[in-house]
Symmetry: C4
Amino acid sequence: METFSDGVIAILLTIMVLELKVPEGEHLSDLHNNWPILFSYVLSFVTIGIYWNNHHHMLRATERINGAVLWANLHLLFWLSLFSFATGWMGENHFARTPVALYGVVLLCAAVAYYILQTAILRELGPDSRLAKAVGRDLKGKASPLIYSAGILLTFVDRWLGVIAYGVVALMWLVPDRRLVPKAM
Amino acid sequence: METFSDGVIAILLTIMVLELKVPEGEHLSDLHNNWPILFSYVLSFVTIGIYWNNHHHMLRATERINGAVLWANLHLLFWLSLFSFATGWMGENHFARTPVALYGVVLLCAAVAYYILQTAILRELGPDSRLAKAVGRDLKGKASPLIYSAGILLTFVDRWLGVIAYGVVALMWLVPDRRLVPKAM
Amino acid sequence: METFSDGVIAILLTIMVLELKVPEGEHLSDLHNNWPILFSYVLSFVTIGIYWNNHHHMLRATERINGAVLWANLHLLFWLSLFSFATGWMGENHFARTPVALYGVVLLCAAVAYYILQTAILRELGPDSRLAKAVGRDLKGKASPLIYSAGILLTFVDRWLGVIAYGVVALMWLVPDRRLVPKAM
Amino acid sequence: METFSDGVIAILLTIMVLELKVPEGEHLSDLHNNWPILFSYVLSFVTIGIYWNNHHHMLRATERINGAVLWANLHLLFWLSLFSFATGWMGENHFARTPVALYGVVLLCAAVAYYILQTAILRELGPDSRLAKAVGRDLKGKASPLIYSAGILLTFVDRWLGVIAYGVVALMWLVPDRRLVPKAM
């Protein structure tokens, strides 16, 4: 399951770049439609990169799985697979409100799916497992869906507030904070 | 062969999302053409997920292969590779009759190809192998092509009856029923 | 190198199906442009399948590599990567003469690249290696480029003669003939 | 991390060929727009091939990693993922000045990202590690960004000078020179 998931995530990470369509003209100004797509691509690339890293380490620490874990994993991969679409729509419309909100919905669903997967694995492994201790209180994992939800609502105030909220979650996972929060995996 | 097949299935699972084309406008209403594609994508995603799971466990239990197994495996991958096309055509035409029937034909051919592969492996391993005992009478494996065939015919009565038949097969494999039917693999 | 090559070949096998574009209409007659693409896809799928199988077993038997082997391998992957383009062009033009000939040129270059790779590996391993004995006189490996060349020339007589020649090579590799020719790998 | 990176690079290498769009007509003259794309594809294919080879051997020699190495690796993969776009833009515009310069910028960023990754790994492993000795003074690694920078500037004199500079770097890595410079990895 680990190799398969790694493969799927590697492909998802890569095919997002296909949304960066080659423009018709040959001048820098012909790229004007590509900059917002590039920006949304960077955000998605970092987010998928974080998922890959956390997911990979979580599965590494998972000695045995059951049917629930398997389907929770496919459920997560499903939402990650929609990143490509959501990224393209947000970028091509230069971060218009509705696409930014929908992008947040996909982010939120993926975060919830990750939480479900983690819960299914912890239920299988038990509270004394190495993974359970590493996850601990899982402040980041619980905060992420909340911040995403806030971000989706904030797009109706100002769409950039939503984008900032999504970026804050990415930064939160990028910055290592071993003493404050137990390293998730 | 196991790694290669896993890789191919991972790619097939992922490139289906490329059929979800990014729409031109920026409003929710511009997604109207995407909902049926998303729905057909979910159905195909679950079906490929089931194939991956069963196929992976079957190959795990296969200690040795021969030429017949190898080509039976490629034959299965061929039909799975057509899911992307069939999914896109069914979704883009909002589940019109002919695309729904053709989608069923691809499902049927994949199910038959899986049965051929399983038979080729069991012939190589013999009736006392671990796999032969796990497969047992293989009620699910025999029922699936029958239900798919019925589904294809039912599209000519009502196209949604076909879709329901395809969904029933997916549910049948999702629900674990260890006591009633020996777990296939 | 083996895993990487397997991955590349798996992706090449799979992205060919993207040439099967979803048609606009919802009737069987709207697929009229897809049948020739499907036919050329089947031919390419089988050919890539044969390459994967032979290539995989050859690399398995290769205990050590050098720079020449590495680049000969990438050279082969390069020609295999052009199958997608050649398949699409041949299919979309309903097996017109020039696309059929070009398809043959790509087949020929891939066959020659495979021969170069095999030669580079045998030079590294020496004439007493297990692989050298398995390859033997390599009648199939030597006949394939000749038949492809004949097929390219025959397209100028009748384009279908070229297609038949390409199919003959595929069949030649599919049919096992252990007694006549030592199994190549 | 090694398998995941190999997978991503395999996909990047392969999806570049999707920029080779199938032309509408069936004559050789209809390919006129494809030759420059094919040429830029060859250049990118060789460059990615070199990255794969060097990257693969570097990670093989890396016994342990830390967070910095992980993100430096994703940073490299990000720039490699832009090859597909840059290759397509340069090819479709028949090597016009701006696309050639932008292609050089992507090459430069990837080379710098590789250098950062190597530095992060060497810092983790220490100066006495096997990798540190293999890398040595790393003349090639230091020369590549300089030649790319020169190439970008030279496109404003003549765009082909830029292309030649990019090709020189590729050749520099292709030609083995074990005695002059310690083999990088």
